[in-house]
Amino acid sequence: MLLWNACCIVHAEFDAEKIKALKAANPDAELLVHPESQPEVIALADVTGSTSQLLQASKTRQAKKFIVATESGIFYKMQQACPDKTFIVAPTKAQSELYQCEGNCPWMKMNNLQNLRDALKNNSGEIRLEPGIIEKALLPLSRMLEFRKKHS
């Protein structure tokens, strides 16, 4: 298998050493980790999974307390689904002197109610793709959705 190298700058900041210390201070907490995190962080996880899978785990696991290594926006749904449980954001360490996310995706947080309103009102921010690109990109996306349907 040949792998391309890139990373999610939000998940890459979750820090294994700081998480170990936080786990030690909260022995009753389980660690939920998104797989875009670093391997050393994944190695510590009680559950590793996509955002939806982590949300599901927060509901089904017996634990009442979780340390969560994914973007902070997920706390809205986790807290809504489990009002009696405690969620702690996993600690981070800057990976570059040029930026620091601390559990928040800078681009996701560009969305707000004002620019949502503006896009709808003015039909602005419309995604336009060349028909040739759409045609070619549809195949791998459809395969993924078909696979999901068959295997869920």
């Binding site: 902070s72 926006g73 109610l113 503006d118 709808l120 990109a137």
Partner: protein, 169 residues
Amino acid sequence: MENQEFNHKISRHLPAKAPQKFSDKENQLLADEIRQLLKQKNAVIIAHYYTDPLIQKLAEETGGFIGDSLEMARFGAEHAAKTLLVAGVRFMGESAKILSPEKTVLMPDMAAECSLDLGCEPEEFKKFCAANPGRIVVVYANTSAEIKALADWTVTSSIAVDVVKHLAS
């Protein structure tokens, strides 16, 4: 791409300003206006779990959707609305458009990027594929439409391992 080069590229694409904050009153008025516009335009909000809770709440209350990128793509393709308002980052809007080319797909800010997407440039990736012929090309959903157009399969973190196991068997 070397780490330093990657970090410089990332920093060039980061938003110049901190996220804009609004008062409760302003958000209330905006939410009311959006509710009306959604009806008028036969539109639906598809929001990612990582967006501001105010957006997620409004998506829920207006019959829209909150999910990860795989679920967002599926919801957009299956929903009857003419216009999809995608609150997330650009590749999510592109995936919605690819699956529903007949629909209008709108995004609040087209400069909302993803570092995984930025880390995979079409020209470099084309060379990588050309240098390694005869392989099945599996790309992460967090890539541009142009990259997906070069791929055999797309995966998200929820099914990447299952798909690769399936392909290997």
